[in-house]
């Protein structure tokens, strides 16, 4: 079911983009968490936007390269001319996509945990206003929960992109559909955030994006909404991965 050589091949061809996106994300996280002038923006700009935009770029490019790109270029012929089932191809690429996102968030979470341990910020600052009447500091547990929530939404984004990659034989359609999907998701999320910050009317955009299921505010305010909302991206991811596997197994390949 799982093909180690294919996994290695995927690691090899996606290591550069993974490394750069993870690097940028970790660096931004450290900067927002460590510098006093940006600490109040940590949850607005970094956790509000960057944790979806940056992984979205990664999944958009990588998902296409994992399947559709190889079919389009014809290099998938070398994979499929070996004793490997098509279902093993999709399964391996799903594993790669999921694991690489988990690792990406693990790296940036560890960086944040390290910074937070050295230079803790108050919960009020994390909520955007140091003068808010809330007690306590941003805890390691909160950081873990926020990142877990972001990770799951990103896995769902990745799964949908991989689904398009499995459906289409040509990169332009795969990238096109994934681009529209991730673009709408990420942009709507940003607009919805402006809505939350007071721009009236824009809050309706939250219905257009799966990033709504990523609820960092609920983590900060200590309720369990974030955990309940994680069911939806998980279901979306499973459904998208399944469609990817089934379509890729059945379709004609121009190799």
């Amino acid at each position: 079911m799982f093909s180690l050589p294919l996994f290695k091949q995927s690691v090899r061809s996606n290591a550069v983009i993974w490394g750069s996106i993870t690097g940028v994300m970790s660096l931004l996280c450290v900067q927002f968490a460590a510098l006093e002038m940006t600490q109040s923006l940590l949850f607005v700009i970094f956790y509000g936007m960057m944790t979806t935009i940056l992984p979205a770029i990664y999944v958009l490019v990588t998902a296409n390269k994992l399947i559709a790109g190889q079919v389009d270029r014809g290099s998938m012929a070398y994979v499929l001319s070996t004793p490997i089932k098509r279902s093993a191809v999709t399964f391996t690429q799903i594993v790669f996509m999921t694991l690489s996102l988990i690792l990406m968030f693990a790296v940036q979470t560890l960086m944040h945990l390290a910074v937070n341990a050295a230079k803790p910020i108050t919960l009020a600052t994390a909520m955007g206003d140091p003068k808010l009447p809330v007690q306590g500091d941003l805890t390691a547990e909160m950081i873990l929960k926020v990142n877990l929530s972001a990770l799951l939404v990103c896995i769902a984004l990745g799964a949908v992109c991989l689904m398009f990659s499995g459906i289409f034989n040509s990169s332009k359609y795969s990238i096109g559909m994934s681009g529209v999907f991730t673009g709408v998701s990420v942009l709507s999320n940003m607009l919805a955030m402006f809505g939350r910050l007071g721009v009236s009317g824009l809050d309706k955009f939250k219905y257009l994006t799966i990033c709504t299921f990523y609820d960092h505010q609920s983590v900060l305010s200590g309720n369990n909404d974030w955990a309940v909302k994680m069911i939806f991206p998980a279901l979306i991811a499973v459904a998208a991965y399944m469609i990817c596997g089934i379509v890729f197994k059945k379709k004609d390949l121009p190799l």
Partner: protein, 301 residues
């Protein structure tokens, strides 16, 4: 010899007359089988069916008794494939690619691979993306042959190779036959099929025109004789009087090519008896001529 590859009434209609229609081919173990046709005649479509990449509209194909579309992974254990379009996975250098390919195929001993690399004179340390067309083709050949597979599917394997390498390829294919492997190859280059294939099937616009076996003399194809005459008067005289069809004639160099059915060979010699000739040569009947004849006849056999 048992049948190894069976293509049964295979049809795939892409519309507008493209595709393949009712292909019926049987290949025995140890045979080298050629598929020849112009561009777009359906060679690659046939290969793709055998690889299990596409589902036929009707009909089926089997390799070693296994349906190609249902369980391709079972067949791939015994099969080497050179695709018609060559593009490698994005894995860096040629060496990296061959290593990963060896892992897929479960090859531990790379001695034969090294031997193939030497034979084709490839610099595998070069990045795959910068390799020239011929270099890529040679890499693809090494990848297909390295596991010493029982069955080889080669889709236009000589594309981009220089003449010396083309000869190496011919030699390599013949070695596979000696080893007992079965080869199914497509080409529009007649020479390489002629040098290697036991049987050749012609296809045009997705339909089989004819299948001929390697021993062309056994078939009732007419012989071709090129006759050079000593002077113009003799040349013109023979040209006017002969009862044989002339395939080609050259008034300047005073020679012509006569088409002589096998049973009328004596007749030709008799007719030529009184003439002063520079030479008489039997021209080997190339597949190309054969193929041309079919195209000229409107592609219908």
């Amino acid at each position: 010899m048992p049948e190894l590859i069976r293509i049964n009434e295979l049809t795939k209609d892409y519309g507008k007359g493209r595709g393949i229609f009712g292909l019926d081919i049987s290949i025995e173990q140890g045979e080298i089988y050629g598929l020849v046709g112009t561009n777009g005649s359906g060679k690659t479509t046939t290969m793709r069916h055998l690889m299990g990449f596409i589902r036929p509209d009707s009909g089926s194909c089997e390799i070693m008794g296994t349906d190609c579309r249902k369980h391709p992974e079972k067949i791939m254990k015994h099969l080497g494939y050179v695709p018609g379009q060559i593009d490698f996975p994005d894995v860096g250098s040629g060496t990296d690619f061959l290593k990963i390919q060896a892992q897929y195929l479960g090859i531990k001993d790379m001695a034969y691979t090294e031997q193939l690399i030497d034979r084709f004179k490839i610099d595998t340390s070069a990045p795959l993306r910068r390799m020239s067309k011929g270099m890529k083709q040679k890499m693809a050949l090494v990848a297909a042959f390295m596991a010493k597979p029982d069955v080889l599917l080669l889709d236009e394997p000589s594309t981009g190779l220089d003449p010396v390498m083309r000869d190496s390829l011919t030699e390599l294919i013949l070695e596979q036959k000696q080893r007992g492997a079965t080869v199914f190859m497509s080409s529009h280059i007649f020479k390489e099929l002629q040098d290697t294939c036991d049987k050749v099937t012609f296809i045009n616009e997705g339909r089989m025109i004819d299948t001929i076996s390697r021993d062309l003399h056994k078939s009732d194809l007419p012989g071709l004789y090129r006759i050079g005459f000593a002077d113009k008067a003799q040349y013109l005289d023979f040209k006017a009087k002969t009862t044989f069809e002339t395939e080609a004639c050259n008034d300047e160099y005073l020679h012509l090519t006569a088409v002589v059915p096998i049973q009328r060979t004596n007749e030709l010699i008799a007719q030529l008896a009184g003439y002063d000739m520079r030479y008489v040569r039997c021209v080997p009947y190339t597949l190309e001529m054969y193929y041309k004849k079919y195209i000229e006849n409107g592609g219908a056999a």
